[in-house]
Symmetry: C2
């Protein structure tokens, strides 16, 4: 199938919250997001990767304007699930490649990550779906990242030749 990148999106008004060392057992994620829901805070991204010995970390992004509210109940949330601590980073932004099937082609993901690496931009979180690849990067690098991705993917042409399989 032919994969093409339709666009590059980015968002700077986000703050990252990571609940570190939460128990890796059924119910933990439910309690966290039910707790956040009570405060009517909108979420931009939720990411959880590999567990380590019965514990895991859950990261989420909220709009920066909502972070003050979130910060008021963060300790309570960590205590509720028996986590170790909350880590906050306000210096983050998202940059996303958008297009049907972009995450399937390792070539496209590699080009995205390579374009960021060439600019010396460190990737903090990665989340994908069949429609987009999203990277969380330092906020002060967002414009450089968008420019680098545009150069790599649009100016060099990214519409893949239809595969013959």
């Amino acid at each position: 199938e032919e994969v093409s990148v339709r666009g590059i999106a980015h968002q700077k008004n986000v703050t990252k919250v990571s609940l570190v060392g939460v128990p890796d057992q059924p119910g933990t994620a439910a309690k966290i997001f039910a707790g956040i829901g009570k405060h009517e805070v909108n979420i931009n991204l939720i990411v959880q990767a590999e567990h380590h010995g019965g514990k895991n970390d859950i990261s989420f992004l909220v709009e920066s304007s909502a972070f003050l509210r979130v910060s008021r109940f963060l300790d309570e949330l960590v205590a509720l699930v028996g986590g170790e601590r909350a880590v906050v980073d306000e210096n983050v932004a998202t940059v996303s490649l958008v297009g049907e099937g972009v995450q399937r082609e390792p070539g496209i993901a590699a080009r995205m990550f390579t374009a960021l690496a060439r600019e010396g931009i460190n990737i903090d979180l990665i989340s994908t779906s069949n429609l987009m690849i999203t990277c969380v990067i330092p906020k002060d690098r967002a414009e450089d990242a968008v420019r680098a991705l545009h150069r790599e993917l649009f100016e060099k042409g990214v519409v893949q030749e239809p595969r013959l399989d």
Copy 2:
């Protein structure tokens, strides 16, 4: 805005690979996915969450039929980036809620996670975009998960009242 879940998707023919303890510096993710791309393996999901002291883990899902090929170059990939080890889990499946804006409403994420928790299903990975929330769960629980989500979100009605803000 009114958020509604359009559907529930799941996929069982996937295998999880996690590259554990990779250096958290620019270029690591690029090398990994350029390496995978050389072997023409399609990826179903890429997830990376919080780093710990200069190291991070990157997890990805491949179609189970492609895993044999991946397993042949996995050690080389770990060595290429200076990671600690690769962890493989073939007993995984994905279950996803699909609908515009589903990840923004913590209520919907909470209902998804709560429906899984009630069935005693542990969530192994989480990845979201503005179109879907995907959970990686044990493969032998996929049908239970889909049934539980259907009951929670469709039978109880999930179209949210339009917000007045």
